[in-house]
C-alpha cells in the first residue's frame, strides 16, 4: 500500500492503495466515482475511458503508480459539472443510449476527439471511436451526436467543459 495524491475533476484526493492498482479501480472503489465503467480489463472495449491531462486513456490499463505527479484526471462526472458538456447535450438530443453502460466511455472519447479535431468527418469519427464498443448498437446515433456536438461547440451554444 502507498499514498497517492491525485487530482480528479479538479479536486485533490489522497488514496492509500496498492501501487499496481489500475486507475479504474482507484476511481471507482476509492474516489467513489462510479461513472467510469469496467468492461473488459484489457483496453479492448473503451468503457473505462477517462482523460489524463486531456488525453483519452483506458483507465483499466494505467497503474496508479505510473501516473505523473501532477497528472490531471477527468472522468465523466467532471466534464459537465456546471453545465452539460456539448457532447452530453448532443447525446440527449440524439437519444443515443440504450442500456447506457458504455456511454461514459463513448462520451469521454468523443470529447477528446472533438478537442483534437473540431470538424471530424464520418471516417474520422469511425476511426477514432473504433476502440469503444457498444453492445446495444448505438453507433449511428453516437456518430450523429458527435456531429451535433461539433456544430454546437462552433456556435458556442453549449458547454465545453473546463
Amino acid at each position: 500500500m502507498a499514498i497517492f495524491n491525485l487530482t480528479v475533476n479538479g479536486k485533490k484526493t489522497k488514496v492509500d492503495v496498492e501501487p499496481d492498482m489500475p486507475l479504474l479501480w482507484v476511481v471507482r472503489d476509492f474516489v467513489g466515482l462510479k461513472g467510469t465503467k469496467f468492461g473488459c480489463g484489457m483496453a479492448q472495449c473503451g468503457a473505462c475511458t477517462v482523460h489524463v491531462n486531456g488525453e483519452a486513456t483506458r483507465s483499466c490499463q494505467i497503474p496508479v503508480s505510473s501516473l505523473a505527479k501532477n497528472a490531471k484526471i477527468t472522468t465523466i462526472e467532471g466534464i459537465g459539472e456546471t453545465q452539460l458538456h456539448a457532447v452530453q447535450q448532443a447525446w440527449i438530443e440524439e437519444q443515443v443510449p440504450q442500456c447506457g453502460y458504455c456511454q461514459s466511455g463513448q462520451i469521454m472519447s468523443a470529447v477528446a476527439l472533438l478537442k483534437a479535431n473540431p470538424n471530424p468527418t464520418d471516417a474520422d469519427i469511425d476511426t477514432y471511436m473504433s476502440g469503444n464498443l457498444c453492445r446495444c448498437g448505438t453507433y449511428d446515433r453516437i456518430r450523429k451526436g458527435i456531429h451535433r456536438a461539433a456544430e454546437s461547440m462552433k456556435t458556442g451554444n453549449a458547454g465545453t467543459g473546463k
Binding site: 447506457g100 448498437g137 448505438t138 453516437i142
Partner: protein, 715 residues
C-alpha cells in the same frame, strides 16, 4: 392469495397522509419492502412505501412506478408513457421511479420475450384512465356540474362551457376519497398524444453524467467485494485448493468454497482480483471435455439419426418422389456468449431476519424464489431491488450469479458484492446453443414448393425449430423435426432464442429455393402466403396479412425490383415474439469485396408507444444481428472456450454498421414487443444480398470465418 383475474385487476385508491392520490392495482395495504436504491430518481421515498402504479402529489407532480426491469429496451420510459397518456398528465411533471420486486402489486416483472408491452398495455392504460376519471369527478363535484361536461389536458380538468380549470394536484386529495370506477372508458386510439410521439429516455441525463445507476455501481457501506473461480472447463469439478498465499496477500482476505467453485472475498476489487490469482486450485474431470470438432461430428450424427417430430403435414415422401427439382442445404451457427457490457454482478446480504438482494436481473421473481429455496426460507423474506442493467440479451434471465452472491453472503455472514470479470463472463456458461440445420425442398415443374423438410440438430438447444413458423401452412407436404445432444456446456436464452439463428437459416434457404425455382425472392414469399391464405395446410400461427404488409412495405421502401446500378438486394422476413419484421439489405462491391451499405426494415409491432425507443430497438437489433452473423464465434477446446475477452471475440464496431432505415406499419393494433423481433431476419437479408452480389452462398456463421477471402480487407 388467489390469482383470480378480476381480483388482481381490482383498483383501489387512498389519500396520502400529506394529501394527494395514490392509485394502484392489487392494493393490499402492505408496506413495500425497501426504498429504491438508484440515486438521482428516488426522492419519492414517502410514496414508494405505498402500493401504487402512480401517485399525484398536491403540487401536481405525478409519480409513475415502473415495475419491469430496465435493460436498455426503454421500458422505464414506455410504461409511464402509457399511464400518462390515459391520465392526460403533463409529461413535463411526471417522475418515474423503478419499483422493486413486489409480486403482490405487480404481475410479470420480467424483461424477456419482448413481452412487457403486450402484457401490460391494457393494465397500464386502465391505471391512468381510472385516476383521470376520479380527478374529473372530483372537479365536477366541486363545480357542481356533470362529469360529462369536463375534459382533461396536461394535468388539468377543464369545464368546457365556462373555461374553469383545476390542476390535478389541487384535486388529488378529494379524488382519492372517491370510489374507483370499475368500468372506466379508455381513450380512442386516434386521440393519443403522448403514445406514438418521440419521448426521451427518462434516465438519460443521469446516465450521461455518470450517476451510479447500474448494479456494478451499487455500494453499501461495509460491504465486501468478491470474485469466484469457477471450473476452467465444462465437465470439470473442484478437487482441492490451497489459499495460503492468497490469504497472506492482504489483510482480511477470505477464501471459501461454494460446491465446485472457490470464492475470494476482500475489501476492494483489485485486492480480490490479485488474491484470486494466488489461490492454487486443483480441478478434476467429471464429464466429457468437448471440443468444437466433437460438436461437428455430433451434428452429423444427429442429422442422420433419429429425431423428434415437431410438425408433419401431408406426405413428404411422395412429394419428394414426384419432385421435378430438389434443393438441399445445411446451415450452422456457433455458440455465442451474451456479452452485455456490464459484466455479471450482484449484491446480497443474508441476515438473520431476511435476505436483501440488489442488482441487475431480468427475472427478479426467479431470483427471489430460488434464493429462498437455496437458503430454505420463505420467499417473502427475500427482497429484490432492481438496478439499471448494462444490457442483458438473455444472460440475466439466469439466476446463477444471484445465487452465488446469496450463498456466499450466507457463508461469510456479511453483505457482499460478487463481481465477474469479462473472462468470467465469456467463459461462464450461458451460451446461445450451437445448431446445425438440414433443409430439403421439393419443387414441381412450375417451381411450386410442394415439399419441405427441416431437421434441427442442437447442442443443449431443446427444440431447435419453430415448427409453426412460415412457411408452415403454405406447403402441402412438410416435416419438421429436431434432435438434441446433451452437453456439459451450459446454454441459455439469447436475444430472440432459437430464432436468432433459425431465421437466418430459413430465410437463406427460402432464397435458395426461390433461385432454384427461377422466382423473385419477394414474389416467391408472397405466393407462399397466398397459398397459406387460400389453401392452408394444417394450423397457421402467424398472421398472413400482417406478414404480407411488412413484405410489401420493405419492398416499396427499398425500391425492390427496380434496378439500382451496382447495388445487390437481399430479402428476409420474420415473425417472432408477436411482431413482424421484413428487411432488405443492400450490398455493393468495393475493391472486389461485398460491403453492406444499407438495411431497410419494415416493422409491424402494432401501435408504436415511443418513436425514439422503438427505432432504437429496431436499429440496435439489426446491428446486433449483423455483428453476430458476421463476426461472432465461440469455439471450444477440451471444454474450454477459446475466446475469453474482446481481444479474441469480435464485436461489431462503428465502422462496420450500414445505414438503417426503419418504417413502421401504422395499423392501430395493440402493441407487441420490440426487444427481439428486429434481430432474427438480419442474418438472412445480409447473406441473401451477399449471394446476389458475389454468387457466394453463406451457410455458416460467422460469415467472416466461412469465407475469409471474400471479406478480406473489407472491415
Amino acid at each position: 392469495m388467489t390469482k383470480n383475474n378480476s381480483r388482481r385487476d381490482f383498483l383501489k385508491s387512498t389519500a396520502l397522509s400529506a394529501g394527494g392520490l395514490i392509485l394502484g392495482f392489487n392494493w393490499f395495504g402492505q408496506e413495500a419492502s425497501a426504498a429504491t436504491v438508484v440515486e438521482g430518481i428516488a426522492n419519492e421515498a414517502g410514496n414508494t412505501a405505498f402500493n401504487a402504479f402512480l401517485s399525484i402529489q398536491t403540487d401536481g407532480i405525478v409519480t409513475i412506478f415502473s415495475p419491469n426491469p430496465e435493460i436498455g429496451q426503454g421500458i422505464k420510459t414506455a410504461f409511464p408513457i402509457i399511464v400518462a397518456e390515459e391520465l392526460d398528465a403533463d409529461w413535463a411533471n411526471v417522475k418515474v421511479v423503478q419499483a422493486p420486486l413486489d409480486t403482490k402489486k405487480f404481475e410479470r416483472q420480467v424483461a424477456g420475450g419482448s413481452g412487457s408491452i403486450p402484457h401490460s398495455w391494457q393494465r397500464l392504460r386502465k391505471a391512468g384512465a381510472t385516476a383521470r376519471q376520479m380527478l374529473v369527478e372530483a372537479a365536477a363535484k366541486r363545480w357542481g356540474v356533470s362529469a360529462s361536461e369536463c375534459s382533461t389536458e396536461k394535468s388539468f380538468v377543464i369545464h368546457t362551457a365556462s373555461g374553469k380549470k383545476l390542476g390535478y394536484g389541487e384535486l388529488a386529495t378529494e379524488a382519492a376519497k372517491l370510489t374507483p370506477p370499475t368500468d372506466v372508458k379508455l381513450k380512442d386510439k386516434k386521440d393519443f398524444k403522448l403514445i406514438g410521439s418521440t419521448v426521451k429516455g427518462v434516465d438519460n441525463q443521469a446516465l450521461l453524467t455518470g450517476k451510479p445507476l447500474f448494479g456494478l455501481d451499487f455500494y453499501r457501506e461495509g460491504m465486501k467485494f468478491a470474485m469466484i473461480q469457477r471450473p476452467p472447463a465444462f465437465g470439470m469439478k473442484l478437487k482441492s485448493f490451497d489459499a495460503s498465499a492468497a490469504k497472506a496477500s492482504a489483510s482480511g482476505i477470505e477464501v471459501v468454497s461454494l460446491k465446485d467453485k472457490v470464492a475470494i472475498v476482500g475489501k476492494s476489487t483489485w485486492e480480490v482480483k490479485k488474491a484470486r490469482d494466488l489461490v492454487k486450485i486443483e480441478w478434476e474431470k467429471a464429464a466429457n471435455l468437448e471440443s468444437s470438432d466433437d460438436h461437428n461430428r455430433i451434428f452429423k450424427e444427429l442429422l442422420d439419426g433419429k429425431a423428434e417430430v415437431r410438425r408433419k403435414d401431408g406426405d413428404v415422401e411422395t412429394a419428394f418422389k414426384d419432385a421435378a427439382k430438389i434443393v438441399e442445404a445445411e446451415y450452422q451457427c456457433p455458440f455465442l456468449p451474451h456479452n452485455p457490457m456490464e459484466p455479471m454482478n450482484f449484491f446480497a446480504h443474508v441476515r438473520e431476519d431476511g435476505v436483501e438482494l440488489v442488482g441487475p436481473t431480468q427475472t427478479p421473481q426467479n431470483a427471489q424464489n430460488q434464493t429462498a429455496k437455496l437458503l430454505n426460507i420463505p420467499a417473502e423474506k427475500v427482497t429484490v431491488e432492481l438496478t439499471k442493467m448494462g444490457g442483458g440479451f438473455g444472460r440475466r434471465l439466469g439466476t446463477d450469479y444471484v445465487l452465488e452472491a446469496a450463498e456466499l453472503s450466507s457463508i461469510i455472514k456479511a453483505p457482499v458484492k460478487v463481481m465477474w470479470t469479462r473472462e468470467d463472463d465469456m467463459s461462464g456458461g450461458s451460451y446461445r446453443p450451437a445448431v446445425r440445420y438440414r433443409f430439403r425442398a421439393a419443387l414441381d415443374k412450375q417451381g411450386n414448393m410442394i415439399g419441405y423438410t427441416l431437421r434441427g440438430a442442437g447442442i443443449n438447444a431443446g427444440n431447435s425449430t419453430r415448427q409453426d413458423n412460415f412457411p408452415a401452412g403454405a406447403v402441402s407436404n412438410l416435416l419438421i423435426d429436431s434432435a438434441e445432444h446433451k452437453s456439459p456446456i451450459t446454454t441459455g436464452p439469447w436475444r430472440a432464442p432459437i430464432t436468432n439463428f433459425l431465421a437466418f437459416a430459413e430465410q437463406s434457404f427460402l432464397d435458395e429455393v426461390a433461385t432454384a425455382a427461377g422466382k423473385d425472392a419477394v414474389q416467391f414469399r408472397l405466393e407462399l402466403l397466398e397459398k397459406a391464405k387460400t389453401a392452408p395446410t394444417g394450423e397457421i400461427k402467424y398472421n398472413i396479412d400482417r406478414m404480407k404488409a411488412v413484405i410489401e412495405l420493405a419492398a416499396e421502401k427499398s425500391g425492390w425490383g427496380k434496378k439500382k446500378k451496382g447495388v445487390s438486394l437481399g430479402f428476409s422476413v420474420y415473425f417472432s415474439h408477436a411482431s413482424y419484421v421484413a428487411q432488405v439489405a443492400e450490398v455493393v462491391m468495393k475493391k472486389g469485396k461485398p460491403v453492406l451499405q444499407k438495411i431497410y426494415a419494415a416493422v409491424d409491432c402494432g401501435i408504436v408507444v415511443n418513436q425514439s425507443g422503438a427505432r432504437n430497438q429496431v436499429t440496435g437489433g439489426i446491428v446486433d444481428g449483423i455483428g453476430h452473423a458476421m463476426y461472432g464465434n465461440l469455439t471450444f477446446k477440451d471444454g474450454t472456450p477459446d475466446q475469453k475477452n474482446f481481444n479474441a471475440f469480435r464485436l461489431i464496431k462503428m465502422n462496420e454498421i450500414p445505414a438503417i432505415e426503419v418504417s413502421f406499419v401504422n395499423n392501430g393494433i395493440d402493441p407487441t414487443g420490440l426487444g427481439e423481433p428486429a434481430l432474427p431476419p438480419t442474418g438472412g437479408s445480409v447473406a441473401n444480398a451477399i449471394f446476389k452480389a458475389t454468387g457466394k452462398r453463406l451457410r455458416n456463421q460467422p460469415f467472416i470465418e466461412e469465407d475469409q477471402k471474400l471479406f478480406e480487407s473489407v472491415s
